[in-house]
Symmetry: C2
């Protein structure tokens, strides 16, 4: 018992695995950018910019992206089913088409109230819709019994890592650079992150020799490597994997008996080539090579937060399990049960995402127009941003291929490292902090995602509207380079 009164908890006696976790996407820069935003909102005129541009996070609707009208019409009816007593008003005065009304009725018949808990793994009818979507996408059937709705893909990743990792010797191969959800969750779990570098020279693709080397090194150090995470299209890199790359990953997974975790939340954000789903490629491999791939366990994740949907705030997503042991799956079910169920309105939005209006249906035309408008807008902005990077001294960046991000390399003068060290920052942190202070544009240093020793990067979304903010970055960069040359 303490002799002088004191608090029970301090940073040294709480869970040190949480203390050790790092999550840069919402770290110091993000906090500072929110302070600037609050200052500006209060009418502060001292800052050298008029608005804050949150290019640190893939949060489309915080910026320019409008929600898809059909989706939100259906959700409004789910929230207030009394509106369904006024179909004539909805259709004649408020712009709802008959298919929006019909979909809301159908969902309500399956969900009951969106204010009620659903079954732990999600609403059965929604799981069936997802299975149908997967079948259309891949050309192979999917089983709703192995689909789990989750509160965004983050919750799915959290569930899967909780099950897969037994103790601190359990290792998970994680791409580097990576979305820090993985390292942060592994840190909290006190499991081992086994990073493998992506190949910047090959458009940030997977390089099997590198993966093997990481695996061998971890194994030789006593780590029990259990799974490989692939983020495709890539975050933060924007890479988009070829089918051959995916096949290589499976061969490696079979050879080393690894679970494959495919984070495919950017599957519709592909500008070059086409998206190949891990599930579809697995089924093809199984068809072509009877027996060889039968024991591969795959978990693939998807979300309503990204793509043309961009409904992050609704926290919806799902994961599909392929070939998991039934007893393992029972534990996954139990784990998700403990927090009862994913948000039901988010589950309904997953249903709308995987089953949007079809050609010929009343809401189709507007849906298509909005969807294509968002897609083309993202592509144009990505291209414009990339063009700006091309002009910047010491900045190199591959062309935009997918996801919502560019991840340029920056080469900074040696004086930067000295100045950064004085602040206890890495050079890329120092650069990003100065950029925020000078321009109001918030990006994330590469060190927040992991990068090869001696290289520096930053990640920026290309979601913010217009090109004025890009001009701010160009001007800042020029001045920064002049100052530290």
């Amino acid at each position: 018992m303490p002799t002088t009164p004191t608090r029970r908890l301090n940073v040294h006696n709480i869970n040190q695995h949480v203390v050790a976790a790092e999550y840069a996407v919402r770290g110091e820069l993000a906090v500072k950018s929110e302070e600037y935003r609050a200052k500006l909102a209060k009418g502060d005129k001292d800052l050298p910019f008029d608005d804050v541009v949150s290019a640190n996070i893939g949060n489309p609707q915080q910026l320019d992206q409008k929600p898809i009208t059909f989706f939100r019409q259906v959700l409004s009816l789910l929230e207030n089913p009394l509106l369904l007593d006024h179909e004539d008003v909805l259709q004649n005065q408020l712009g709802y088409k008959s298919d929006a009304v019909a979909r809301a009725k159908w969902l309500l018949s399956k969900v009951g109230s969106v204010g009620a808990y659903s079954a732990s793994a999600g609403v059965p009818a929604i799981k069936e819709s997802i299975a149908n979507f997967i079948e259309r996408r891949d050309g192979f059937p999917a089983d709703p019994a192995h689909i789990y709705l989750s509160g965004g893909a983050s919750a799915g990743v959290n569930t899967l890592l909780h099950i897969i990792c037994k103790d601190s010797t359990s290792g998970i191969l994680v791409p580097t650079p990576q979305y820090p959800l993985y390292t942060a969750t592994l840190s909290v779990l006190d499991a081992t992150c086994v990073p493998y570098y992506l190949d910047e020279a090959a458009g940030w693709g997977t390089d099997l020799a590198t993966i093997k080397a990481s695996y061998e090194k971890a194994t030789s150090e006593g780590t029990d490597v259990r799974a490989i995470v692939i983020i495709n299209p890539g975050n933060p890199t924007g890479a988009s994997l070829s089918e051959d790359d995916i096949r290589d990953v499976y061969d490696f997974a079979v050879e080393k008996n690894l679970v494959v975790m495919a984070d495919e939340v950017y599957q519709t954000n592909v500008f070059v080539g086409k998206f190949h789903s891990f599930k579809g490629v697995l089924r093809k491999l199984q068809q072509e090579n009877p027996g060889k791939y039968d024991y591969v366990e795959l978990a693939s994740l998807h979300s309503i937060s990204k793509g043309m949907v961009g409904e992050c705030g609704h926290r919806g997503g799902y994961f599909e399990l392929v070939n998991f042991d039934p007893e393992v799956e029972a534990n996954i079910y139990k784990f998700v049960s403990i927090t009862l169920c994913a948000p039901v309105i988010g589950q309904c939005l997953v249903e709308l995402m995987v089953n949007p209006p079809k050609e010929g249906e009343p809401s189709y035309e507007l849906y298509r127009k909005e969807y294509d408008g968002i897609f083309n807008g993202l592509k144009e902005r990505a291209t414009a941003l990339h063009k700006a990077f091309d002009q910047m001294e010491g900045v190199e960046c591959g062309g935009p291929k997918g996801s919502m991000y560019l991840f340029p390399t920056i080469k900074l003068p040696p004086k930067v490292a000295e100045a950064a060290a004085k602040e206890g920052r890495t050079p890329d942190e120092f650069y990003c902090m100065r950029m925020l202070e000078a321009t109001g544009v918030c990006v994330i240093p590469g060190s927040g995602f992991g990068q090869k020793e001696g290289t520096l990067h930053f990640r920026t979304t290309f979601l913010a509207p217009g090109t004025e903010w890009v001009g701010r970055i160009v001007k800042f960069h020029q001045e920064f380079m002049e100052k530290y040359r």
Copy 2:
């Protein structure tokens, strides 16, 4: 490397802390009840009942409880802000009052789009509304900076236990019987649950001597007891603590330097006496005894899932921290950041719950009527159910005081234990399974919550409409007792 192909994961090599966790609320009985429901939906006529009554879970809107109109009107406008272009239609034809429209506009001005991520700890304006609510409720100010929105109270409990528990020696005092979220989460965390029995003879109140004995025993066994959980009003017990009980808990917390975790999600479900918030009592104690209670750390949790709101499916809630070390709080912020933010529409519903229409405002009358109707309905059903238990042989149950549950003691003939053992079940599991099979009513055995050795209970909600299902239980019980006498 395995010589024969096999799956990577099996129940013996995954996370054994998850395998060890138990969560009866969604366990075998719940799964079986859903199977019955599906059978009935398919037109099956072989079952001895026509519908399944899910009395296993506090899920008001799955049963009879209708959502509050004002809340859902506002949410429908947040989901489809285009409706705000038609205020005349909303007000003249669709039953929206001006205050619903105004609230939606205000929330949208603060939230932006409900499809965007909010700040990690929640929308600042919503945190201010919550602080105002706490101040009105307790008569003492609250600071929005220490309020965190969460995806239901479950997510809040998960966050807090993740921070508080350092390793397997960290102990948390948890009431028994308890809501199994606590034991399940502590199991997943591999921390130590230190159960303390509630006093059934005193309406399931806290008994300080019992708490002390549990604390001393755990401490003597090397457990570092760090916090005490109180569920008030009680789940599964329905108890409602007096202010004196709460004061005693604080004295104990000060003496032993414990964090107090107050789970107050049933704070409006109080039928006898009044609800005393842990925050309010702490501030009173601090006022009366300068210095003595200054170092108490309190986390109090609330939710939109229960009470007259009953919006479980929307996954909304918050917790307020009092007197936590800033560095500890920074880690709580980081932890919640990793999963980005609580569902934004759920956050908005929290705002509506804590700031409902006031007397004199256009939506007040209907709101009041709906609110009181739900409250009185719950009270009536609780009383009717309690009356039925009073008539049942070997069943004893205190009068309903709060929450949504009754938790009767059942005394079963010795033959039951024999028959149960043959099925590998405890006698109360056996009893509840037979009840489900005979009546379609799903309740949870006391063993799912913890109960004193040699005693048997079950928990049932009193949410299901009508009294017909209560009659089914009475009839089943009579036949069961005859059979095993």
